[in-house]
Subunit: 341 residues, 4 copies
């Protein structure tokens, strides 16, 4: 950390800052410039947690120079993490596709979708049993019944299954059924929930919050990892901006940024990012070309009758076509895409 002093800071101000830091057991380095004086802080800055340096007289601002996340940080980890979910691996050479309906609506709808996405090349079935909805009057999900259908779909197809959890109670139930727990965008900073999934040994798909910075997102991963569960996969799903032509703005740059800052795998969800079915294939290809380790795509057998997010769901034929285009694209950039026939 660097302490930048005000241009009118006195010698006494500077001495006080140095003293305050050193009393916490840290070392300082002084740089006196013509306009400004800077105090470098050397050592473990968590020792400073008892004082607010920026409130000492003469202090202009503090500039952090190291990230606050450790376990998720690439600097302290050799190589990239590969997370095993069911029989597939995320973060390795293969592009992994998670597909399925936004919400589980019935056993028939789910099984029909599961067979279709498996045939196209998906390896993980997604399906929401606990749905966070903006309005309390919208469909809220089938809850445990939905999880049971998901488990049945796994039996029938061999696909691994991922489901969102929205409360500690939902975690307790879901761990009995699923291969991967999903933390949705709205809960990315529900720290109690992050700690709870961190206590399980089930892989976690951590969606980026609607207006979370990449730094906050990696700190959310840190919450899970610091409880012992290091099997975290990140999912970029669009951020909120002023543009209204799409539901959210897919931050495609998050792919190379995460690859440079963290060892964790990252996948992309073009369905929630745009909210518009017609734009999904274009963005799915962009994500793979950018270096994402996988995709999460909404597929519904009859999008015009979906109870949730129909406008952004592909039908099985469109999804099959997309996968047939993704396979050669993955190969030309040196990745594999095994599922598609």
């Amino acid at each position: 950390m660097i302490v930048v002093m005000r241009h009118d800071a006195t010698e006494e101000n500077i001495r006080n800052v140095v003293q305050a830091i050193e009393q916490c057991g840290l070392t300082t380095h002084l740089s006196k410039g013509s306009e400004i004086t800077i105090v470098g802080v050397i050592g473990d800055k968590s020792k400073l947690s008892k004082i607010n340096l920026d409130l000492l007289p003469g202090v202009e601002k503090l500039v952090p120079v190291t990230e606050s996340y450790k376990l998720a940080n690439k600097k302290f980890h050799v190589g990239s993490s590969v997370i095993k979910v069911g029989n597939c691996e995320i973060g390795g050479n293969e592009i992994v596709i998670m597909a399925g309906p936004c919400a589980v609506e019935s056993k028939e709808q789910l099984l029909e979708t599961a067979h279709a996405v498996k045939k196209a090349g998906a390896q993980i079935l997604r399906g929401g049993a606990y749905k966070p909805r903006t309005s309390p009057y919208a469909f809220q999900g089938l809850e445990e019944e939905g999880l049971k259908y998901m488990a049945e779909a796994r039996e029938e197809t061999g696909l691994a299954i991922v489901c969102e959890v929205t409360s500690i109670q939902a975690v307790e139930t879901a761990v009995k059924y699923v291969d991967m727990l999903q933390i949705g965008a709205r809960n990315m900073q529900n720290f109690q929930l992050l700690k709870e999934v961190g206590k399980t040994n089930i892989p976690v798909l951590l969606k980026r919050g609607l207006c979370a910075t990449i730094e906050e997102w990696l700190n959310a991963a840190e919450y899970i990892m610091s409880e012992g569960n290091t099997n975290v996969v990140l999912c970029e799903r669009g951020i909120r901006t002023y543009e209204t032509a799409t539901r959210n703005t897919l931050d495609i740059s998050a792919v190379p940024v995460i690859k440079s800052k963290s060892h964790l795998p990252i996948i992309v969800d073009p369905s929630h990012a745009t909210g518009v079915r017609a734009y999904v294939p274009s963005l799915a290809k962009a994500a793979v070309a950018a270096g994402a380790d996988g995709l999460m795509i909404e597929v519904h057998p009859n999008p015009s009758c979906a109870l949730s997010d129909g406008p952004q769901s592909l039908n099985p034929d469109d999804f099959f076509k997309l996968c047939s285009e993704l396979k050669p694209l993955a190969e030309v950039i040196g990745r594999s895409f095994n599922g598609h026939e």
Copy 2:
């Protein structure tokens, strides 16, 4: 709701849309223009929840014309709501100030602050016992011990107390101590938590999410109210934008917008909005002049040693001075400010 048809929609497309709507038990009105045809939908649109009209062939887009929240909506409520918290009323003529430390750190710190803010004119003591923090390595709060200190401070000073709850477990504990439950910005769409506080009969302070629209915020209030607890007070605390000169951007317009759309009271938190102590008095006055029903302000006896958010906390002297300026300001716009000596 209005269905706008594509300019190349066929007669058959239009017939299908009309038919689909009428099969749900609703009435339609057709407007055929030179360029475009519009289908007006008349009746309770929740009956349409089983179909996705925007996916029918020929449909360009749907335009909602009514809000999805009902209980929080000014249209369906006569007059403004006044919420009683302890002995004070929020939403009436009086400006109500909630003040205190970001986090409860010790009994001494809390009591010292409580006496100071009471003297200056605050009527409600704030203090965090459960702290949502970006990094898992930051101070997380004293939990139930903190709530006990808050209750003691109430005994000593007569101030009502408000505390944030971050989980269902925290709600269960907090209801034994507090006069008002606070839902923080990060949990504004933690729908399980909203429902839980909606089942209590304790007033709720609902902070706006970091990137929540006013519509989403009122829908979050609707979650609480639809469980039976209509004692909701809204709190604007800054939204996330590209500007970095302040921690967040105080959306002062939210005050007149909420007053035009809802009957619920609204207060403003200039401390979290700016993150900078020096800007707090200016924004506190702006909020009162704009028509806010109250303020939430962080006060700490020794901000340079605060464990959380020190840089934005006022010391007791600054807070006293601010209140002495707010009193005549409140009066000149026709409100009262009773506490200040």
Copy 3:
């Protein structure tokens, strides 16, 4: 400036950085920490303009510690600037109101408005003769004819006049008529135009760009001032965010931030900030309470027939009422408001 080295930077990397800086005639200070090394740069950093330090091997990032604007900077200027426009002063004790129609439409419309705003207490008449419009098919302004009407309105009422200029040609014409030149939000980084108004000796009202940071805004002021014209008044008019309940989001915090960073006066335009007439009075009062030096408000004799921005214009009666409320508000915070009868 501070150069933060990567945690894996070698001794040679560090030596190279130090050498590169010193070859530019600057001095360095080294701080070697357990995790990271920092190089402080001392002296005039414009000497570094020939090298890109952040591209040297081993460099993590550069952290600027001083602002790039000098003439607009409070640090290098004693006291606050007071800008004289016609007979009134902006930045002194008095709150100055600029009011008038968005666009000059006819002589009658303008004169009627001018008399009305003068009576209510405005000291400067605003009126657009050159209108920047999103669509090329919208009304573009009366150009020089509009300026002539403005000058006539000044003769009749004694009000000073301010008009927007959108091109160098418009500046050349406008200087013959107006007391103050306005640079609109869309042209805040039209640097040729900034330089051109900087060559005149007429006061400039510089509106903040739709998504300009405060730092960029002050740099835009610097462009004008560096050409010799230091008579710059800043105008906050709302920034672009994700919220759609208002046309823009008024960044009320800009008032105390500018007051802390610059000596230039700042006024607020609540009409463009919200785009909704009903919200204007609330925000006008908030701006004065926050410490703004004045307001710019759209007034039209018949808003429902305005050719531009009618929905946000007040009619003369509403404006009169607002001014009668602003007068005691200004006085209670220690300012004066002289015009209102």
Copy 4:
């Protein structure tokens, strides 16, 4: 256009609205719902420009149902536009690369870069002679001297050349030298400048404004096209958001959105979008995979000595490597990439 009436609008309010519309020579359709009445407006809505419908008593809001741009609109144009620049075509099957330095610094720097980018596969040389810079103290460009070097580089290499113009004077000079005029992000709503390039017959590269919506961007294209010059190519270069890990946020969704709304070609500039050299290749591939018609990439022979935007420039080797990866990627998605050896 649709007029939504307030739920408490009277019969008289509705009659007045209908009458006002019909007096402008338009037709109306009334839809009376249980909660709300809607008035559909049929015919050319520019006839309504003399009245502000939303200010008539009882009106809740206006909902536009058609776009304000016509010439740039896909609805009124058969097929996609192909724009010829020098000997290459943008918007056809081939991916076109524009590359070169941010700023022209010297003849040597430019020629070295021109040969390098030609060898790698670029078809158009970019190079700034007029530089819009945030601070007036930063390097502002070589102006006409820079244009001459650009023309020399064209002679030597056969590459077409594109240069930014920042004022009407710059347009007058540039038309004598360049094959394509560039309008930069900061000038996207400099309407005088748009009209001026619209009067030339030289193709225009129109960059998206820092916080422009796609609708505003297409309206800016409309300004150029409505003056007679329909040779417009759009360039997505990142928008401003709260995320600071990259300089801007590349809105990759703009590619499919523009393809669905307009017939104009779209290219992507990953250099300005991220501001970080290491992220450029990932985003360049993403853009091509998403369906962009080309790329604009900054290349500098010695990025660590560039006078402008060095940190985001690729060196010639990195650029050659990127092009060698883009070629098979383009082919696998059915496009061609001819230049690369």
